[in-house]
Point group: D2
Chain length 305, copies 4
């Protein structure tokens, strides 16, 4: 079944199609721990060789996944423990400097609810760069601190520009030490929807995710470290149909049929550019974007002194 | 295949599963004409007997469908010819009074893009009731005119109230002559998405669409004529999977399999409360809501003198 | 100078123009306490006689004012202590029943930032009425609980209906035990802007605030207790000009001039329908609406058991 | 009275304080014509010498003002004649190339209604750059055409970056031939609010508007021609108070007093960062932003062939 190519932005899902033996051979290292308060599982997948990268279909680097089934639920303090966990994982992937100048990029389209995660997360950040630039760190009563700036570049259909063009220009002009890029992902499984946070130091790879593509948001293309935070908020329509077919035919003698329909986007071209999401997507995006932005805010506060 | 129950809010789609012979026998009358400027097909389905209603799974009444393939496209004057056509069909379904006091209800959730059609359409209406109430029709330099009011009742998850409770209360307090209710529908086919306007004098029926349900928005439940305008902006996820299975298995010997999976919401419970929509849904909803509101504005202007 | 009539929605500001002696004579009782954690001052003004009401230009009833200079500042937990204080004061003004069915009305126009306080506060409420109605209080694992519903009625320019018409209809249909109405107010002083919460059991009085006006949202007009929560988010433009004139001329010999300009809306008719607000109004409204909605959520939770 | 410095972003208002004789002497040339259909007056002020620039407090360049009293009114075709007029004036100020690659910058804060003009105007543009870049001009069935891209940079409080930093980076990366910058302005007079469009080839000057400031959006600072389109949507609070004082005291013997209060921001520091706007600002911004974006769309279409 692993030969059926379906689109997934989650390294964890990519890893699941590789057996454990293969992992060891190929330079994929996996650690995990539990976040008891939220019943969350944190998995760190290190893809450490080119072979491993090829097998995973993901670039070499570190992929941390916080699987938090509670994330979709309303919560009085917006799942603060998950924000703290996210902050700790972020700090490990960001440069280990005493003072960081970080630019956060909120990808996506504010006007499409399921795609508004990045823009909404950016709305809740504690932006400090302009204050520090004008008044110095003394404005915050400290001798050194991280500073934060943020950009919502918009989507190509509305700007006429590649996101990478906009980000590259702003990076060259404002010289951040690192980027954090927030994006809504497509998951393979409905069950992972809005329950998983992926943090990776490999940035964002358009399309196949291989090479130093000009439209990528990566260290290679931008010249600064890029940590990407992604949450699956939609499922690709063609993927759902593939999954449904697989599941439906799993116990039957229709294996060959399933393979035929595997790449359903070819068979159902009308499903291209379609995505699937839940009816309460507005509330969920609002809450999760807050959890994410608090994670970043906490990560940036840590070295203030 | 017609025995597989899939959810559709479109009478046209319901009709398609009935053969022409059946139509005549059962009291379904169908007229159609073309709107040349937009290449649109206008179909009027009259369900004139209880038998016909039963066969269609739709209440007795008139269902006008404007199928306009251009509706998804950007257009300088927002498809004004379709607005005019909508206005004419609306006038035929509204009470034939010289002066009408019409309340427009914009159903849906403004915060979920695909469900924001009703609220956005209401935003563009020429609301006149409060002006006429305070200053008389002389404020508009005419001796008589239709007056318009509008309400965006919100969705039950946010109000804790049935839409019908809110609308009933407001109707009893403000005594409109008729209601126009605007709603985003679920279509069965991706091909109909955002290309079809359905206008019906049967109002809005929750669930099975039979009887004088307290949660319906109908003449029976509210005491005033209710004309509903619906546009399919989403496809039910379970429906897509059913359709994909049907299509995939159509030429094969898997008819029985297809039937098994027919009601995919039972087999794939995780698809309940999921819907599918296109990636450019924000632009499409913005444009179509404008076409709809202009249709209502034109319909209301007609009897000013 | 106290004779110059300027528009204020705040009882505290009305009270300030009455001397302490007058207060005692006339049946105005004032209590106050400090909320140390936020440096807030809570003042409870009871207007207990018709004379007092006349002197204050406010109906008989209780007016609690929370003056919290920190309210405009960003805060990690959204000023939770103020939410708790608001919850306690709300409970004192609501009916003392074991189980309350409360309808919250978010007044204002979501599309105008300074007027979006009510709609935004309603967005963050824990709405329970529909769940309890369908599944009983057992859905929340308790034997009795308060239930909450909410409505955003919109503004007359967009609905063509008086807010009171809409609310009256919904109240008659859904029979709440009490209403909480949230509104953005106009303050007299820029210094009070976004720093003061007023809670009153006299509801909302349009215009002069006297009598049982059909457009009021009061116990008299709606038949159920109405607690209004108001925050000054704008200053009336004519008021600002009056204040500026007063201040400018205070030390001069131009007292008579000041009186002439006192009711500046007559002299400067172009200032009618104009209001003044701060440039960061979006962030402030977002934060304060959250503090308000949490106050209501906490008040409603208290009697769950 | 002309010595009282009040803040105005409108060249027309600056010009009004210079007598006609002075104009001729100092190199200010003024032409005007009427746009009959809308009763609009179009004024072209050319500031042609350094002396003139100094007297006006505005840089050398061309300032076209369309004064259209109808602009605040609802209109079926969104004041298309004004859009056409704007398009013609824009073309005169843009480079006279056969094919232009224009980047539109929508300044302002989408979340603050009165400041959302730029972002909302950008929403309605026909963005073509990405299509032409991928498929060539053949995608639009023409042999050459102008291409359009757009950016909503956000405000410094939310990005931590100067708008000029963001724009400079994007310009250097995407190499447009010219910029069009859309901004909401502050007017001196309530009467001009939302009724005037200013188009200038001098770009946007922060603060005093003199010199090659790094935070300016001008040809000097960005290296490409910059045409700015501005509409006054707010009045500075301090300005209103000054105006009110002037008006109030005009017929009196209080000239000296008026002068004292002239720069009211010094006397009323609490008015800084406050602005005044009308209660129906949401509808007005929505309509005017559409008129502006159509003007740009028409200007860009003209050379398609």
């Amino acid at each position: 079944m692993s030969h059926i190519q379906v689109r997934t932005d989650l390294a964890l899902e990519a890893k699941e199609s590789i057996s454990q033996e293969e992992e060891q051979l190929r330079g994929v290292r996996v650690d995990e721990y539990r976040l008891d308060s939220e019943g969350a599982l944190v998995t760190r997948v290190s893809v450490e060789s080119k072979n491993a990268a090829k097998a995973m279909g993901k670039p070499m680097g570190i992929y941390v996944t916080i699987e938090a089934p509670t994330l979709v639920e309303a919560d009085e303090d917006y799942h603060r423990d998950i924000s703290i966990c996210l902050a700790e994982e972020l700090r490990k992937l960001l440069p280990q400097e005493k003072e960081l100048n970080v630019l956060v990029i909120g990808l996506g389209n504010r006007m499409v609810t399921a795609d508004a995660l990045g823009p909404q997360a950016v709305d809740n950040l504690c932006i400090t760069r302009h204050i520090v630039k004008e008044y110095g760190v003394a404005a915050y009563n400290c001798s050194r601190m991280n500073v934060l700036s943020a950009l919502e570049p918009g989507v190509m259909a509305k700007t006429g520009m590649e996101t990478a063009e906009i980000v590259r220009g702003v990076v060259e002009e404002t010289h951040p030490d690192a980027l954090i890029v927030i994006d809504a992902l497509a998951a393979r499984s409905v069950k992972r929807l809005n329950r998983t946070i992926q943090i990776t130091n490999t940035g964002i790879q358009p399309g196949s995710g291989v090479g130093n593509h000009r439209n990528a948001l990566t260290r290679e293309s931008l010249g600064v470290p890029v940590v990407a935070i992604g949450i699956p908020t939609v499922v690709d329509a063609a993927t759902i149909v593939s999954d449904a077919l697989e599941k439906a035919l799993a116990d039957e003698e229709f294996g060959e049929t399933a393979k035929l329909f595997g790449s359903s986007s070819r068979i159902f071209p009308e499903l291209n550019n379609m995505y699937m999401t839940g009816k309460d997507v507005d509330e969920i995006i609002k809450r999760i974007s807050f959890t994410i932005s608090e994670g970043i805010n906490i990560a940036m506060e840590q070295s203030m002194e």
